[in-house]
Point group: C2
Chain length 186, copies 2
């Protein structure tokens, strides 16, 4: 072969990373194969040496993103880590930079509309994340509720037009989650 042994792997990885950014920023369905390849300096035709279809790329993006989310947000290291994660997740910077943020608020609706195999992948990683939080919070229910609230707060904040209101939404969720964690459990 005219290319080094791991050249393909490197190109594939670059494509995955670049495409994930484009998808989270502009939506996966709105960016074309040609644009995705041009973004890493290649032509559209070369795409199919790495993925058999655009949908297969999406499946790989989802898997890669959610595995990264688990690494970043997994709260195994205890309650301090969890609170740091919450602060970072519910930050204005996260609202404004969807391209480098969590895939769940940015691609949630598109994942929901995907076929079963992608949703199974998503479920796998989401469950690991929930279990990790449930261990720290000592509540399955609270872990699901807080995860949902974090996603919702970002979707909500990103819809709003004014930065002050975005801050209010983020702060509200952060404060109320704080009360839920601190408050007495039944």
């Amino acid at each position: 072969m005219r290319y080094s042994a791991n050249h393909k792997e490197e190109t594939r990885e670059k494509l995955l990373q670049s495409s994930a950014i484009s998808a989270k920023k502009s939506g996966f369905s709105t960016v074309g194969v040609d644009g995705l390849m041009k973004a890493i300096g290649l032509s559209g035709g070369a795409f199919y040496s790495h993925f058999s279809s655009k949908d297969e790329l999406f499946a790989s993006i989802v898997e890669r993103e959610l595995r990264q989310s688990l690494e970043r947000l997994g709260a195994d290291q205890g309650r301090e880590k969890l609170e740091r994660c919450l602060k970072q997740y519910l930050s204005l910077s996260h609202v404004e930079h969807a391209e480098s943020g969590c895939a769940l608020p940015a691609l949630g609706a598109e994942i929901a509309r995907s076929d079963m195999s992608i949703r199974r992948q998503a479920e796998h990683w989401i469950c690991l994340l929930q279990e990790s939080w449930a261990q720290v919070l000592e509540s399955e229910s609270l872990a699901w509720a807080i995860l949902s609230q974090c996603i919702g707060a970002l979707v909500m904040a990103r819809m709003l037009a004014t930065e002050e209101l975005q801050r209010t939404v983020l702060r509200s969720s952060y404060d109320e989650i704080g009360r839920q964690i601190a408050g007495p459990r039944i």
Copy 2:
């Protein structure tokens, strides 16, 4: 004119309703003008007698949907109404029928990527909704947090592959919101 006085208005209304269903089900960007018009029995070319562009249609859909959401979810009638809304919102039926459900979980990411004028529209109606809930809950912060959690729970549940897990997510948010409402406020 060859058509009755309110024929245009009726057609426009039919188009808005049908397009909102398509958008919530499949995403607005993935459905074409031709498909939207065929869905109400008209040809693609007739679209531009009602809207000057596809984006203008999206703006009208967002306004219409969020006005309806305020009508349905506005909690002015007191705490009982709010609890009924929560039960209905956080139901499996709502998860499974995005096309007839709330636009915020289904179109949130696309609204977030829209231009400022659409986000201002969204902000307007979302604020009215939040104010309505804040009045009943007697807390601005809790109103924002619960609204966010409802949206997030639906995005989350719709990503999951198994119905049982979807139920768990919905039930968790419902239960935790119940505790937040019942619990002592600082």
